[in-house]
């Protein structure tokens, strides 16, 4: 089996009932977080062929032949993604555990046109929970990130 993750090829085979999140973490992508393990919290969000999914709900074998993007696939230490920068600028986190999933969803939200205003952002980002309740800052970050992504 062959998997394309953040532009790199992997040929390891997942276990039959393994979810994509565990598979990605076992391959070293620790930005993919285990949260609720049931598709509620969004901490494990990754992009599958550019579409946001809860990787805890996706059978790993189904990612074969598709492209997977995790938070590690965004930007670099020298030039982080505009949405990452927006979260830094607005303190869109406290403990930071949910942040990779928040950023993955935020990028998808912007790309799909769901970030038109604060209300849209709050609704479409509602599938990503932040136990530190940094929501006002997250909304501000998404608004800035949206503008920055247009210019990127």
């Amino acid at each position: 089996m062959k998997f394309q993750i953040n532009g790199k090829s992997f040929s390891q085979a997942p276990r039959a009932g393994q979810c994509l999140r565990t598979f990605l973490r076992e391959l070293g992508h620790f930005g993919v977080k285990k949260g609720c393990d049931a598709g509620d919290c969004g901490a494990c969000t990754v992009l599958l062929d550019g579409e946001p999914v809860h990787s805890c709900l996706i059978p790993a074998f189904r990612a074969e032949g598709h492209t997977v993007t995790t938070i590690e696939g965004f930007g670099s230490e020298a030039a982080i993604h505009p949405m990452q920068q927006a979260f830094v600028d607005h303190d869109g986190f406290q403990c930071g555990y949910c942040t990779p999933g928040q950023i993955m969803s935020a990028v998808a939200c912007v790309r799909e046109g769901h970030a038109g205003n604060e209300a849209d952002i709050r609704e479409y980002m509602s599938g990503n929970l932040c136990r530190c309740a940094a929501y006002p800052n997250i909304v501000a970050a998404v608004l800035q990130g949206k503008t920055a992504m247009k210019g990127a």
């Binding site: 805890c56 709900l57 996706i58 059978p59 599938g127």
Partner: protein, 271 residues
């Protein structure tokens, strides 16, 4: 989550490749429920993705929705302008307690087969006179109305090895004028009552009650009934024991909302 008891995955590409059903098997559609809870009783997944059923087919008879059609695919569909009932599709998709990420994975068939009272795809397809095609384990198939497919809270007519293939919506139902009402305890919470009314070209009226009740119920009238007649019909047709009881709403409140929303639907359609 990881399903650690799963030891095998079958990925058939055609019906002829479907493995013989055995205890411990599960169909894998979107997987959003299957992978959200431990499934210690399962040891093999039969993945439906490689069957590559077309999500949606529009023809002269109406609309066919594949069981593997995702909520996002259904919501994105644009029907002909004379499908007056088409707004119900978006309304029911938005009655789904799920994020836009879940929409991309969860399937219409999965929602039916879960058979939760609040399943909005059950509401949609039963209100639109949907007919399920079920592939039987013996190689045959049978058809059954969606309103008869779901028999109670998380129960349905499927037998071991049965596979829901598609739901067919007749053209006449799509052309009916309709009204939608939904109620839940929180703004985007699970539906406690979801009612859909529609009027056909011959003036007949159909009210579909879901979410409030353990299974979908359809009330049919030759013409739009009066306020009192509609209320009486609901009271006579739906016994108190059929109203669902869980954390999302008490039965007496669901009954109250059913009567109220039905009256609102009637008022909207009488105009």
């Amino acid at each position: 989550m990881d399903l650690n008891t799963i030891t095998a995955v079958a990925r058939p590409k055609a019906r002829s490749e479907l493995p013989v059903w055995a205890a411990g098997d599960a169909w894998l559609g979107g997987g959003t429920w299957l992978f959200s809870e431990p499934q210690a009783h399962l040891n093999r997944l039969i993945d439906l993705a490689e069957l590559k059923w077309p999500a949606l087919t529009i023809d002269a008879k109406g609309l066919s929705i594949s069981a593997t059609c995702t909520i996002a695919e259904l919501d994105a569909m644009t029907g002909p302008p004379d499908w007056l009932a088409a707004p119900l599709i978006g309304q029911c998709c938005r009655a789904f307690l799920a994020s836009f990420k879940i929409w991309k994975t969860a399937t219409v068939g999965g929602n039916l087969c879960m058979s939760l009272p609040a399943g909005p795809m059950i509401s949609l397809t039963s209100a639109l006179d949907g007919v399920c095609t079920v592939w039987q384990a013996d190689g045959g198939e049978r058809k059954i109305a969606v309103s008869d497919f779901v028999t109670g809270n998380q129960t349905n007519v499927l037998k071991p090895g049965d596979l829901l293939r598609q739901i067919d919506i007749p053209l006449a139902a799509l052309k009916r004028r309709s009204a939608f009402r939904q109620m839940s305890l929180t703004p985007v919470g699970r539906s406690a009552a979801l009612l859909i009314g529609s009027i056909a070209h011959d003036g007949s009226f159909t009210l579909t009650v879901t979410a409030a009740t353990k299974r979908p119920l359809k009330l049919s009238f030759a013409q739009l009934p009066g306020v009192a007649d509609l209320r009486d019909a609901i009271l006579q047709t739906i016994p108190d024991a059929l109203y669902h009881d869980d954390i999302h709403g008490k039965p007496f409140w669901r009954k109250h909302m059913t009567l109220r929303l039905a009256a609102e639907i009637r008022d909207e359609l009488v105009e």
